[in-house]
Symmetry: C2
Subunit: 616 residues, 2 copies
């Protein structure tokens, strides 16, 4: 069995320090525990400042001074310990986070199950009630704090009863207790709410413009904040995938959000409003409707109409956490609106924490595309569960670590992040470090090659979203069509097609709509082209697809071979954990390779130039 | 709400007669009740004979004499009442059933849910215990008896705990009680068992050649028959779709069946052994393995090795109750083995009792193909549930009625069966009779046209099996592949292909393997052909597919239009019940039409000669 303390803080062996309300004393206690765990001595003085999250570590004549605000001081302590453990330069000039709210969304259901969870069940609930190990929760809070996460939503955005009652007197005392466990670590709670709640608790409607509804929420929010005064606020998935929302009452989303943001503002709370709104009952015959256009279409025109404590939470891409998508165009617009970037470290479409998929290379691209339009806040759908190692796949811990680090620095830094994580977690050096570093860095490229050709999404199995099913989503209402024919593949999203590309600022749009300048990895996302179209290197699209799929599957085998060289370098339990998953990944990669190659071959009947096996 | 007495016995308004153990008295009481319900008087004498199921109705100077054996007398009484109600000639020369065991299989789970049930939940169980309305069970038994059904299995062939305990002391008393409710009607019970049961109840194995296992079953069967002496026997789904079976212990199915048939024989019981055995973990790359070959391959060589109280229950077709399949070749072989023909009146692949699908036309083809090789017994997977009207769709009652009638006469007689059922159920005459008769008779043709082209199966949605998903099963382990390409469609099952056709007797094989003599409706089941292949009427295959799909969807609209003319002729509740389903059928039919046409068009890019809309 794993130690749940595992991950990047191996020097903390046991329970967290007691917290009596004094942040400074708590930081001191954690520092002492950490140094004990490291077996090191150091002369460190802590200085509390007026800052919030920021901190600095200065060298002094006798040792170090860590200074920081309420939470910053603790961040500084953990940074100090991790740097010491990793053998890095400890002195740290004053540092402040790039994103204000650094959030994790738990899609945990009170049944115990996690929607899109690949690390066991939730560690918050069981059998429709709160049920947790307080020590585990404290260790989780410490882990989050050590990477700067300062907010978690604790219930699924698809709010299923009884989780809808977390804002009501029936479950609020439980929320209060849980908030207290996270509080010492500066991790505040966010509650996902059901927009139709008033209509099921005393009223006949949940119309945001209805006076009674407004009064109902004001009273409810007052009650909530009386119990949990530092609650971050509410998280809402409205009018999305059959969830209730303001559209049910003929109101737009600014009107809908205002209902909640106004009373929340009085209490210092925010309203996190997800922009994942699209027509999930599309007729596949309808080629004008294009799901990627939906977020922009639903929100862009509402700029300036949201209160300043409303945060529009926008997924990185216009579809839904696919292996490769362009950045959502909404990031470039709505200057008067506060936004959060939402990524998903739960590997829903990226291998279920069976296949290795290290995400910072993906995030680096997102941040580069967003550029100066970087939103104020950031969020990730978490990959944690009650598996002993937190994330199912040991190496998936690197994504949680990497997310926190990026949320602080504003940079993805794939290589540096991986190195530090490996150093902290496994303490590898030299060739072993190089091997694991390379595994992480190539993993996304491997996965993309054996799964998604050139920006073609949604070849995943519709049931569960693991494995390959090329036309599983074809002819469904989900807005996710390939429309492959004997001659052509890809979708035209330029002005001659769905017009999605026109949602971008001119320069970006111009690059995408021109087949010669379009990022080749997104070529078929934006363009419908013949199988025989010649790419820049002279290969046809179909040849490129065959090549990628053979290469991707080989890379998966390479990952397995590389890991085998690390036997003895990593703890045996970790070796076995990853080995078993890599073996499954190799099988999965071959299946993707053969199915996708056969799928296209049956349409185009063009042979592989290299004569490799493509099945009939 | 419906009356549950509804169906073809509308003259029985209430509860069934009391049964005190005297069959003659019971038959007399049912006769009296029926005559009262009909509001008729008749001088009828009942004569008990030594026969079992057979009966006769003779005219006498003053009225009628109904003579028959224990069960036959009751069959005669119901026949008398139905004929009187339908205004048919009542006198009936001595009649005996064509099939000895006339069985229904309930795929009912003790959770309450029915596997492939489209008429609500089971009326036997709830929350993992027996739970039923005794009066409803008696009415059901009467209904079955009125059409000659003499055996029902009461639990799903996929035996899920706790249903596996029906043969153990824990649930046997419940089985005994239920058997007593059916007994007056000559309906005997059959229990589906879990082949691995001994290994989970005291032993370490369920190996059929193990002495302890043999002793365990002998004792268990003794216990069962002590409680239910007239039990028909056991029903087994072994080594099929992940169910346990003798293959787990390296034994063949004759060895496996012998374990149970020997002790059952001592008690006068039979063993119904399903032949639905195939590799459900096939690699799609493997083109030599062909699922339709599986039943023959698994069983044909075992002829003569089964005890004479073993009944091999063989599905009509070699796949699984698809819209059109050839008859399973196993029927033509194994002359020393007792067999049962298994059909499915639950509309799993034929419209879920939403779409109208009257089955006797299909059965007429089966019986014609089987010819002299007709098996001794017959079985249907039932379409009944706790919906007030028993079968969800009112008109689906005709399939239950028709099955019983065919099981007695050995003929499907689609027209006569439909006429009588309509007469009994709705009492329609003239134009209204013609309208409903025609609806039933064309329904299968309509459904086939808008769903399955020329013997291509498995275009159904993998989840639930309703609606269209052309490549849903492609690349899965289920052995059900289309392998469509730009140029070709269909599967070669001749000697140049999988060789499935070689399992038939020479004359049948020769007809199928020759593309010119092959039944056109099975053309693509047996042959892989170009889209441009010319059929006998000069149309290309692709044109025929387009035509069929447009015609089928039009026929669905025609069914709806026809039904609307019957408003006022049928009870309002029935009118609404069928109307609502036909409206859904029209939507479903259009979806099938458009998706299948588009699916093939994308491959072949051949336009419809008539210029009708085929979506991109």
């Amino acid at each position: 069995m794993y130690q749940t303390e595992f991950a990047w803080l191996p020097f903390f062996k046991g329970a967290v320090s007691a917290y009596g309300g004094d942040k400074l004393a708590f930081a001191q206690a954690e520092l002492t525990l950490g140094l004990d765990g490291l077996g090191k001595k150091a002369n460190v003085s802590l200085e509390q400042t007026a800052d919030g999250d920021g901190y600095a570590i200065l060298k002094t004549a006798v040792g170090y001074t860590i200074s920081g605000g309420d939470t910053g001081l603790l961040y500084g302590v953990y940074a100090f310990l991790m740097k010491m453990h990793a053998g890095q330069e400890i002195e740290t000039p004053p540092t402040n986070p790039a994103f204000s709210l650094r959030m994790l969304n738990h899609w945990d259901n009170m049944t115990g199950q996690i929607e899109r969870g690949y690390s066991g069940n939730t560690f918050f609930y069981k059998d429709n009630r709160f049920c947790y190990d307080e020590n585990r929760i404290r260790r989780y809070a410490r882990m989050l704090c050590s990477i700067g996460i300062n907010c978690i939503s604790i219930n699924n955005v698809n709010v299923h009863a009884p989780a809808d009652e977390m804002v009501l007197p029936s479950l609020l005392p439980e929320v209060k207790k849980l908030a207290a466990l996270f509080r010492p670590f500066g991790v505040r709670l966010l509650l996902a709410i059901d927009y139709s709640l008033p209509a099921r608790h005393g009223l006949t409607t949940a119309d945001p413009l209805d006076r009674e509804v407004q009064a109902w929420w004001e009273k409810t929010i007052d009650q909530v904040y009386a119990e949990v005064p530092d609650l971050v606020g509410f998280l809402v998935k409205a009018d999305s995938e059959n969830r209730p929302g303001p559209y049910m009452y003929g109101r737009n989303h600014a009107e809908g959000a205002g209902l909640l943001s106004k009373p929340l503002k009085k209490r210092g709370g925010v309203l996190v409003w997800r922009c994942f709104v699209y027509n999930c009952k599309q007729d596949w015959r309808d080629t004008a409707t294009d799901r990627p256009k939906a977020a922009y279409d639903n929100y862009a025109h509402l700029d300036g109409q949201f209160d300043d404590n409303v945060i529009l939470q926008v997924k990185n891409g216009p579809f839904d956490f696919q292996v490769r998508e362009p950045i959502t165009p909404l990031f470039y617009t709505m200057p008067k609106t506060v936004k959060a970037l939402e990524v998903q470290i739960a590997q829903e479409y990226t291998g279920h924490q069976i296949d290795l998929f290290y995400m910072p290379p993906q995030w680096e691209e997102y941040l580069a595309q967003i550029g100066d339009a970087r939103p104020k806040h950031i969020c990730a759908v978490t990959n944690t569960g009650d598996d002993e190692n937190w994330t199912g796949h040991d190496l998936a811990q690197a994504n949680l670590y990497g997310f926190g680090r990026m949320a602080w620095t504003g940079k993805a830094e794939p290589k540096e992040t991986a190195e530090t994580w490996i150093e902290l977690t496994f303490g590898l050096k030299g060739k072993a470090m190089e091997t694991l570093l390379n595994m992480l860095l190539v993993s996304r490229d491997a996965y993309e090659k054996y799964t998604a050709p050139l920006g073609v999404c949604w070849m995943v199995r519709t049931q569960g979203h693991y494995g390959v099913q090329p036309e599983g989503y074809e002819y469904t209402p989900w807005g996710t069509y390939l429309r492959t024919t004997h001659t052509h593949l890809g979708l035209d999203r330029t002005k001659t097609g769905t017009g999605y590309a026109l949602q971008y600022p001119d320069a970006i749009r111009d690059a995408y709509v021109n087949v010669d300048t379009c990022d080749e990895k997104l070529l078929l996302f934006f363009h419908r082209l013949p199988f025989t179209y010649r790419m820049k290197d002279g290969r046809t699209i179909i040849q490129r697809i065959y090549d990628d799929h053979f290469e991707g599957a080989e890379m998966a085998e390479g990952l397995l071979a590389a890991w085998k060289t690390l036997k003895g370098d990593v703890p045996e339990a970790s070796y076995e954990n990853v080995l078993e998953r890599l073996e499954r990944q190799v099988v999965n990669a071959k299946e993707w390779r053969d199915v996708v190659n056969t799928y296209y071959h049956r349409y185009c009947l063009i042979a592989d130039e290299k004569g490799r096996k493509i099945y009939d």
